[in-house]
Amino acid sequence: MTYPAQFRYTKEHEWVSLEGNKARIGITQHAQGELGDILFVELPAPETQLEKGDTLATLESVKAVSDVYAPMSGKVVEVNEAVEDSPETVNEDPHGKGWLVVIEVANPAQVDGLLDAGAYEKYLSDE
C-alpha cells in the first residue's frame, strides 16, 4: 500500500502527523496487520512527560503484548478514548480514527530523524 505522504514513520512502525507544535501518533497499517486483532489499548495519562523511545502505549492482541514507543519527546495532551472502548478501530483505520495519542513536542526538529513515506515503504519491502 502507499503510505500517507504527509506522515513521518519510524522503524518501530509508528506514524507521526505534525500539527504545529503538536504531534498525533499512531501505528501503521503494517503494524496492525502483524499484531492481529487488537483487544485492549493502554494509553498514557494526560500530562505524562515522555522522552523519545519511552513506552507510549501498550497494545494487546490475543497472544501478544506490544509496546508503542514515543517517536519524539513531549508531553501527552490528548488520548484517543474511542480506541480504549473499541480497540478494533486501530485495526480498521490505523492511520485515521485509530490514532492513539497527541503530544506537545519538546523539539519539533526531532521529526527530521524520522522516515518519510517512501523510505518507510522501502524499509518494509526490505524487511
Binding site: G36, D37, L39, V62, K63, E88
Partner: protein, 483 residues
C-alpha cells in the same frame, strides 16, 4: 449436556447421613443476617450422569497415556501407575498436616529421605520442599536472594540477569520479588554471550537466573565461567531445573556453580501434570543460603523426626504446610524405582531420542542451531510455504493424532517449534512422528489449505480466540444458556 449446568430438572440428589444429634435449628444457631440469601445454582447430578459426563469429557482430552507429547521444556514422560497407588495409601493420604508430630513419623521420614535424595541429585547442601510448582520455587529462590543480600547490607543489589531465552516465569518471579531484570543476549552459538555478561556485571547485580541446558536445548558449555564471573561480582546463581532431564544422573547443578536450583517434580521426576497441576518445585541451595530456607524444617535425631521452627534467619513460609506431599511421595518412589542406573538411563535415552529426531527433522525443517542438542531442540516453522506458520504445523499435527510441540517459544527463534520426546518414547514412535512431520512439510508446499484449516479431525476445530477475549464468557451464562 455440555456442562453440568445444562442438566435439566431436579434429581433426588446424594443421600447424606441423617442428623444423629438433637437438632437445635439453623435459625437459632446462625442469625439471619449471616446466612446466605441466594442458594448457589449447583446442579445435583445422579452418579451415573456424573460418570458419563466426565467420561465423555475425558475422551475430549489427550494425555501422555494416549501418545507422544513432544512439548519442549515440559518433559511429558510416562507417569508410573505404582506411584498413584502409593500416594493413596491411607497412612499417607489420611495424614492431617496439623497432627501431632509423633503420629506422622512416616510422612516426616518420607519427606526427610526425599530431601536427602534430591540434594544428592542436585549436588547441593540443603533443600526446601515447600514450593508447589517451578515458578513457586523461583519465587522462593528470589526471596532467598533478597534476604541474603539484605542481611549482608547489600541492598543495592537489585538486578537479576536473564538470558533472552528465559522462560516467562523467570522475569515474572524476579519482578514480583522487587528485582529489576537485565536481559543478556545469546550469541550466535545460542549460548550466553560472555562479553555482554561481563559488561553488565557490577555491584548492583544480585544474580543470574539460568536454565541449564537453555530453552534451545543447548548446554551452556561455559557454565563454569558464567557462574564464576557472577560469583566474582558478588552475585548468586539460580538455576531453573525445568530441563534436568538432559543430565539427570550424570551431572549436578551444584557442581556447575548453582546456589539455588529448583526441581520440577512434575517434569523430570515423573509425577502427572494433571491438566495443569498440581506440581511441586523443591528448591535446593548451597551452603550460603541454608540459613534462609523456609520453616518448618524437618530434622532427625535419636528420638525420630521433628518440625523445627528455630531458624531466626528464615524467610518464613512459602506454603500452608510442608509442600505438596502427595506429589513429593510419587517423585520419591520414582527415585527408588530408578536408582542410580535408572537415573543415568533417563538422560542417556532422552538426549539420544532428541538428537535422533533433530538429525532426521533438519532435513525438512529449518534448524537454527545445527549442533548436537541435549534433551530437546528448536526448529523453525519458517519458509515452509506461502503463509504457513508454526501454528498451522501444530494444528495439522493434531489431525495426525499427535499433541503439538511447544510453539512460539523461546522468543529468540522466529516461528519456534520446541521438541522434547523424553526418554520414554521408542524409535518406532519417533519414526512415525518424523514421517508425519515430513508429510506435513510436503502438504505445506502442495496443499497448504490442509494446514490452514487444521485441525479437522479433533473434537473441535480451531477456536475463535478473539471472540473469547473480546466477549468474555467466564462462567456459565445462567440467564442465556445458549450463548
Amino acid at each position: 449436556m455440555n456442562t453440568i449446568f445444562d442438566a435439566k430438572g431436579k434429581r433426588e440428589g446424594k443421600v447424606l447421613p441423617a442428623l444423629d444429634v438433637p437438632q437445635q435449628g439453623l435459625e437459632k444457631l446462625v442469625p439471619d443476617s449471616l446466612r446466605r440469601s441466594r442458594k448457589p445454582r449447583i446442579p445435583a447430578l445422579s452418579e451415573p450422569e456424573l460418570v458419563r459426563h466426565y467420561t465423555r469429557l475425558s475422551k475430549l482430552n489427550y494425555g501422555v497415556d494416549d501418545g507422544l507429547y513432544p512439548l519442549g521444556s515440559c518433559t511429558m514422560k510416562y507417569n508410573p501407575k505404582v506411584n498413584e497407588d502409593l500416594a493413596r495409601l491411607p497412612a499417607f493420604a489420611g495424614a492431617h498436616p496439623l497432627a501431632d508430630e509423633r503420629l506422622v513419623q512416616g510422612s516426616l521420614a518420607l519427606l526427610h529421605e526425599a530431601s536427602r535424595y534430591l540434594c544428592n541429585i542436585a549436588g547441593l547442601s540443603d533443600i526446601t520442599l515447600q514450593p508447589a510448582a517451578g515458578a513457586h520455587g523461583e519465587l522462593t529462590g528470589m526471596f532467598l536472594f533478597d534476604r541474603y543480600f539484605k542481611e549482608r547490607g547489600e541492598s543495592k543489589r537489585k538486578r537479576i540477569l536473564l538470558p533472552d531465552s528465559a522462560h516467562g516465569t523467570n522475569p515474572a518471579s524476579a519482578t514480583i520479588s522487587g528485582f529489576s531484570t537485565t536481559q543478556i543476549p545469546s550469541g550466535e552459538d545460542g549460548m550466553v554471550d560472555l562479553v555482554a555478561l561481563q559488561e553488565t556485571l557490577d555491584e548492583t547485580v544480585a544474580g543470574i537466573m539460568l536454565t541449564v541446558p537453555n530453552t534451545l536445548g543447548i548446554f551452556e558449555e561455559r557454565i563454569l565461567e558464567i557462574t564464576q564471573m557472577v560469583h566474582a561480582a558478588g552475585g548468586l546463581c539460580y538455576f531453573d531445573g525445568a530441563n534436568l532431564n538432559a543430565f539427570l544422573g550424570q551431572a549436578r547443578p551444584g557442581d556447575m556453580g548453582a546456589d539455588a536450583f529448583h526441581f520440577n517434580l512434575h517434569k523430570t521426576l515423573s509425577t502427572p501434570h494433571g491438566g495443569g497441576g498440581p506440581g511441586s518445585g523443591p528448591v535446593a541451595v548451597s551452603q550460603c543460603l541454608v540459613d534462609f530456607l523456609p520453616v518448618p524444617r524437618i530434622t532427625k535425631d535419636e528420638n525420630g523426626y521433628h518440625f523445627d521452627w528455630n531458624f531466626p534467619h528464615s524467610i518464613g513460609c512459602m506454603h500452608s504446610f510442608y509442600g505438596n506431599f502427595g506429589v513429593i511421595l510419587k517423585a520419591y518412589a520414582y527415585i527408588l524405582l530408578l536408582g542410580d542406573d535408572g537415573l543415568h538411563a533417563v538422560s542417556d535415552n532422552a538426549v539420544l531420542n532428541a538428537n535422533y529426531l533433530q538429525e532426521q527433522l533438519k532435513k525438512t525443517y529449518r534448524l537454527p542451531y545445527d549442533r548436537l542438542c541435549k534433551h530437546e531442540f528448536v526448529l523453525s516453522g519458517e519458509k515452509l510455504g506461502q503463509g504457513i506458520t508454526t501454528l498451522d504445523i501444530a494444528k495439522r499435527l493434531i489431525d495426525y493424532g499427535f499433541h503439538p510441540p511447544t510453539v512460539y517459544f523461546p522468543l529468540i527463534v522466529h516461528e519456534a517449534l520446541m521438541i522434547e520426546p523424553t526418554e520414554c518414547e521408542g524409535k518406532e514412535t519417533l519414526d512415525r512422528f518424523i514421517s508425519v512431520m515430513e508429510k506435513i512439510a510436503l502438504e505445506a508446499k502442495e496443499n497448504p489449505e490442509l494446514l490452514h484449516a487444521a485441525p479437522q479431525h479433533a473434537p473441535v476445530q480451531r477456536l475463535d480466540q478473539t471472540r473469547a477475549a473480546r466477549h468474555p464468557i467466564l462462567t456459565y451464562p445462567f440467564d442465556e444458556p445458549g450463548t
